[in-house]
């Protein structure tokens, strides 16, 4: 039989547990809703507090800098990072704490935006989403003066750092141009003396190289890789040649033109490599980019569009050895003799990564680190370690002089680079376009047929999806 005192004790226990739970919940909600930071001086999402002369002492402070995880040449990377840290300490009296993350850029950026905490400086690809979120500092003219001014950069770099005319929230660190690569041995065997400059020649050369019985194909693609290979890149080039683009203009609020005739023609031509010209390995319909690159390195593919110089070690270690060369992308659409009205020939799309300063971070200190990163010595060192092109003209000139003839096409592409769209919806559009190419690949795999209407319908749905999320 339960006594009254037992009931009372149980009731008291329940109230105590409830009180503790409520207190914990309140603390948690307060932490979630607060705009806390670790060490910062800048206002949230707004302009920085202005630059300093560089001689200000930051003795005793620590700047957290997040760079890419080291996957190759750890010794070289460490030397580069340590050298920058040393120079930073000499200039400011402060130390650098390097961190890395295994999270994707989007996951981390979402965390930073929601919690207003994170590394003081982080390396990230440019996009309008980050700009619009207000999670990173928008640099002022005074800030750029601290960094050494914008004129030290290649003009096109700034176009990717923010909306037209600024302000900019990114300080570019390196540029990764994309050109085509071809197997010189297969070219020689097929009697081809120079890389193609038109897409008509591209297809003809690929057909000459094609030898399915030996497992060799003229070119390659990986449409079902919706994660690694950025299947919007081919449309970027091809649609520009046709006089169109994935977005009408390079600006924050811009709407997509994914469902436009030039983009449709671009993808029709690309899938024709499989359905009409048969110049790609049928198995590549389900490949991911690593397999595609491995097949080229194994000497099984004649040429590939849109590759970066970082693939050199892979190619050098494969059966292809040093029997490859780079070239600028073809620029005249298939079936035409010259660019149509409005058509352009981008040397590459501007693919750069740069440093962002969190709004919670010590901005003046962070600017000092970015200033050191832009110095010619460290830009050249970065190129030596990674193969990524420098972003300053001084470093670029030095690197071009010492670069071998193999890398000349990358430098040739630099002046005619075109920036990716800066729209807020662009990161999502990239994913949606990649998903679309995957779905089309699934259709091909299942039905062995892909009509132009299928491509048109897929583009239309993709554009609708991108617009619905804007």
């Amino acid at each position: 039989m339960t006594t009254t005192s037992n009931y009372m004790r149980r009731g008291l226990r329940r109230r105590k547990v409830a009180a503790v739970s409520t207190a914990m919940a309140t603390l948690l909600l307060a932490a979630c809703g607060s705009g806390g930071g670790t060490s910062g001086a800048a206002s949230n999402g707004g302009a920085a507090t202005g630059g300093g002369s560089g001689s200000q002492s930051f003795k005793g402070q620590t700047l957290t800098v997040e760079l890419l995880p080291i996957t190759i040449d750890a010794k070289g990377y460490n030397a580069y990072h340590n050298a920058m840290a040393k120079a930073f300490f000499k200039a400011t009296g402060a130390r650098v704490k390097y961190v890395t993350t295994s999270e994707s850029s989007t996951e981390q950026f979402a965390q930073i935006e929601a919690t207003h905490t994170g590394p003081d400086v982080l390396l990230k690809a440019e996009d309008g989403q980050a700009f619009a979120s207000g999670a990173f500092v928008h640099l002022t003219a005074a800030d750029w003066k601290v960094l050494g001014g914008t004129k030290q950069l290649y003009p096109v770099q700034l176009e990717a750092c923010g909306p037209k005319g600024g302000p900019y929230d990114e300080v570019p660190m390196y540029n990764v141009p994309y050109v085509m690569v071809y197997n010189t041995k297969l070219f020689k065997k097929a009697g081809i003396t120079s890389p193609p400059t038109t897409w008509t020649q591209y297809v003809k050369d690929a057909e000459k190289i094609n030898d399915p019985s030996a497992g060799i194909y003229g070119t390659g693609f990986d449409p079902s890789d919706t994660q690694n290979s950025d299947n919007w890149k081919i449309a970027f080039y091809l649609s520009a040649n046709y006089g169109g683009a994935l977005y009408a203009d390079h600006d924050l609020g811009n709407t997509p033109t994914i469902d436009s005739a030039p983009v449709q023609k671009a993808y029709e031509f690309w899938y024709d490599w499989y359905t009409k010209y048969h110049i790609v390995n049928p198995a590549s319909l389900s490949w991911q980019e690593p397999q595609l690159q491995a097949a080229f390195a194994a000497g099984k593919i004649g040429m590939l569009p849109a590759v970066k110089s970082q693939y050199e070690p892979l190619y050098n270690s494969g059966a292809i050895g040093h029997n490859y060369a780079f070239a600028t992308m073809p620029s005249v659409p298939y079936g035409m003799n010259s660019l149509p009205p409005g058509g352009t020939a981008p040397g590459s799309f501007l693919s750069q990564d740069g440093l962002y300063i969190g709004t919670y971070a010590p901005v003046k200190l962070a600017l000092q680190f970015e200033k050191i990163m832009l110095e010619k010595k460290f830009q050249v060192m970065q190129y030596d370690m990674t193969g990524n092109m420098p972003v300053t003209t001084a470093a670029g000139d030095q690197v071009e002089k010492k670069a071998g003839s193999l890398l000349k096409p990358f430098f040739k592409a630099l002046p005619s680079e075109e920036p990716e769209p800066f729209a807020v919806s662009w990161p999502v559009a990239q994913e949606d376009i990649q998903a679309m190419t995957g779905k089309l690949a699934s259709t091909l795999a299942t039905t062995h047929h892909l009509a132009d209407a299928d491509i048109g319908s897929a583009l239309s749905k993709t554009e609708a999806e991108v617009k619905s999320g804007s």
Binding site: V17, L28, S104, T226, A445, T446, E465
Partner: protein, 316 residues
């Protein structure tokens, strides 16, 4: 002393003298309860809250002030088929199909595995351990190897099937066939879970029951049906329910084995939630899909609770 009475022991319960332990047991549990509230209950409640608001890249920084959209996130998520991962309704169907088929196929394999190593034979210890290999291999590794195995033309599965004249150069990683490739890897990876539980249950089956069945003339299948399965029924139901919940929540296999987003045929609900949150940056929609996922998860849990209560009622 009466049989069953424990001297000098305090008994929990509703008696008065020498009864409950005072406050101590409840207070010992309180820290764990608080952690459960903070780590599990609160995030779930916050997720449900976010599902009714338009939390995206613009509003994430001040999500408490995001605009209220009512059930719009739910309707959009459930019905919009333009998304790269299809609609959440599609995700639910794929997830349920995947979970049910995985459980239905993996469970008999697990039972069979347990039966083969239940009785003594030379090398039994080796096989008992060997059966666990698929389960202990990290799922990421299983998914990566699975992808390589199912590559068309070069993958071992496609090559083996071609040699047998079953299929030639099939695209197992694209289109509808991707579902069966994923299902095969899932079954391979999880059957040891059922095997472990059933093996434990078999150890508790009394020899007298087998002897009684033999005396009545029962052969192997009769013993299996009238002795083994009834005795391990509780564990069997538990393993099926837990397996189903695991299959419903399996994110790693489709994410690693295919790209992100994967083909529609393998776009299970966890992939839908991830895509909406971290690729499309639509946290409100992702939260709505997450709420849908909780509802789906509750189904097998409810079945298990009902089955447990029914069994208790029958036994009492």
């Amino acid at each position: 002393m009466q049989i069953g009475q424990v001297p000098h022991a305090r008994r929990l319960g509703r008696t008065g003298k020498g009864g409950i332990y005072g406050d101590r047991p409840i207070w010992l549990v309180a820290p764990a309860a608080v952690l459960i509230v903070v780590i599990i209950v609160l995030p779930v409640l916050l997720g449900v809250y976010i599902a009714f608001f338009n939390v995206n890249v613009y509003t994430l920084g001040k999500w408490f002030q995001a605009p209220f959209v009512g059930v719009k996130n739910f309707t959009y998520t459930l019905l919009n088929t333009n998304s790269a991962v299809g609609s959440a309704a599609h995700g639910v169907l794929v997830s349920i199909k995947f979970a049910v088929l995985s459980t239905l196929v993996a469970t008999p394999i697990g039972i069979l595995g347990a039966l083969t190593v239940n009785h003594r034979f030379a090398g039994r210890s080796f096989f008992r351990s060997w059966y666990l290999v698929p389960y202990v291999i990290p799922l990421v590794v299983t998914a990566t190897v699975g992808r390589m195995m199912f590559l068309n033309g070069t993958g071992i599965v496609d090559r083996a099937l071609s040699l047998m004249g079953v299929s030639a150069k099939t695209y197992w990683l694209l289109g509808p066939k991707a579902f069966w490739a994923m299902l095969a890897m899932e079954i391979w990876q999880v059957w040891p879970f059922t095997y472990l539980l059933i093996l434990a249950g078999l150890a508790a089956v009394r020899d007298e029951l087998y002897e009684a069945a033999e005396i009545d003339g029962g052969r192997y299948l009769v013993k299996l049906r009238y002795v083994v399965l009834p005795e391990v029924r509780g564990l069997l139901i538990l393993s099926m329910v837990l397996s189903t919940i695991f299959h419903l929540g399996n994110f790693t296999l489709p994410f690693v084995m295919f790209s992100n987003p994967p083909p529609l045929s393998v776009a299970v609900l966890p992939i839908d939630v991830y895509y909406r949150a971290f690729t499309a940056v639509q946290f409100g929609q992702a939260a709505a899909a997450g709420v849908l996922m909780i509802v789906v998860f509750l189904i097998p849990a409810y079945i298990y609770i009902r089955a447990s209560r029914l069994r208790e009622a029958l036994s009492s």
